[in-house]
């Protein structure tokens, strides 16, 4: 059968949901970042698919910029993560909590 837009979108949704699951579950900061990457990639697929099926370049441009942003985000995020690790010796999410709640 021909692969239509539906298939790609469903795939993107499934990947997005998997990434969401990771964001909720993971308490290790690094693995949290991985889950965020998954989210971004899923969205990229969706944009690219729509771009093809509508013969519009906007979707791919969007994906471009998302990739650029993701790259810079990783750079800064990892820098912060390293600093935090140096100070606290752990990268567990719960260690970030300084408020008493």
């Amino acid at each position: 059968m021909t692969i239509g837009l539906t298939h790609y979108l469903v795939l993107a949704t499934i990947l997005f949901v998997i990434g969401l699951m990771g964001v909720i579950r993971r308490t290790n900061l690094l693995l949290l970042f991985f889950s965020t990457e998954i989210l971004l990639n899923a969205v990229n697929i969706a944009f690219a698919a729509i771009s093809k099926y509508y013969a519009d370049m906007t979707g791919q441009m969007f994906s471009f910029f998302i990739i650029a942003v993701a790259a810079s985000e990783v750079a800064v995020g990892l820098g912060l993560l390293v600093l935090w690790y140096k100070r606290n010796g752990t990268i567990d999410l719960n260690s970030l909590q300084e408020m008493k709640g």
């Binding site: 469903v10 499934i14 969401l20 699951m21 909720i24 693995l31 994906s63 990739i67 650029a68 567990d92």
Partner: protein, 194 residues
């Protein structure tokens, strides 16, 4: 042909990403993530977005995953990640409901058939051009401002990355002879409290 590729890629991607999310070993997660990225670029090729696919491999798999790999070296990753999962039920509920809802929303237009296709924006320049040419044309005419801004953003990210982990940034190593000697004899200690 396309269908086979699509289904193969999709199953593999889903499996890889599930490993990323559910694995207890950080190394496994990272490797799976890298594999997933490659497979995603495969999708891009399937979708005739050649340029994007290549960019995905270079930037994401190459640069970003390498960054992650270097980052992993800092942390003690031989042990299994011990994570305390709080309130598993809430997590499952949230996750399943989000998934179901998203699926419904996404597929509703197609199932219902109320799909209004807008006329695509294509111009003469893009006719007959292959993908990189098309990307170039659109990027430097229509999305020029965003391109420049993205460039500035990357610059800022680079500078901040350097500042975050650099040491003695206010002193110049090449101009100050004393500092140069000190730097050579110093030992790099991961755990120094600055």
């Amino acid at each position: 042909m396309e269908a086979i590729a699509f289904y193969l890629f999709s199953i593999l991607t889903i499996v890889m990403f599930s490993i990323v999310v559910f694995s207890k070993n950080a190394l496994y997660s990272m490797s799976a993530l890298a594999a997933g990225m490659i497979l995603i670029s495969g999708f891009f090729f399937l979708l005739d977005a050649d340029f994007l696919g290549v960019v995905q491999i270079i930037v994401y798999t190459g640069a970003v995953m390498a960054l992650y790999a270097f980052g992993m070296m800092f942390f003690d990753t031989t042990k299994d990640v011990k994570e305390k999962f709080q309130s598993e039920t809430i997590t499952k509920v949230l996750w399943i409901s989000a998934g179901v809802l998203l699926l419904c929303i996404i597929t509703a237009p197609f199932v219902g058939g109320h799909l209004a296709l807008d006329t695509p924006l294509s111009s003469e320049i893009l006719d007959g051009a292959n993908n990189p040419q098309a990307v170039g044309v659109v990027l430097f005419t229509k999305y020029l401002a965003q391109f420049e801004l993205a460039a500035v953003m990357l610059l800022v990210a680079m500078v901040s990355g350097i500042i975050l982990v650099g040491k003695k940034m206010d002193k110049s190593i090449t101009l100050d002879e004393q500092l140069e000697r000190k730097v050579e004899t110093e030992e790099f200690d991961v755990k120094d409290n600055r």
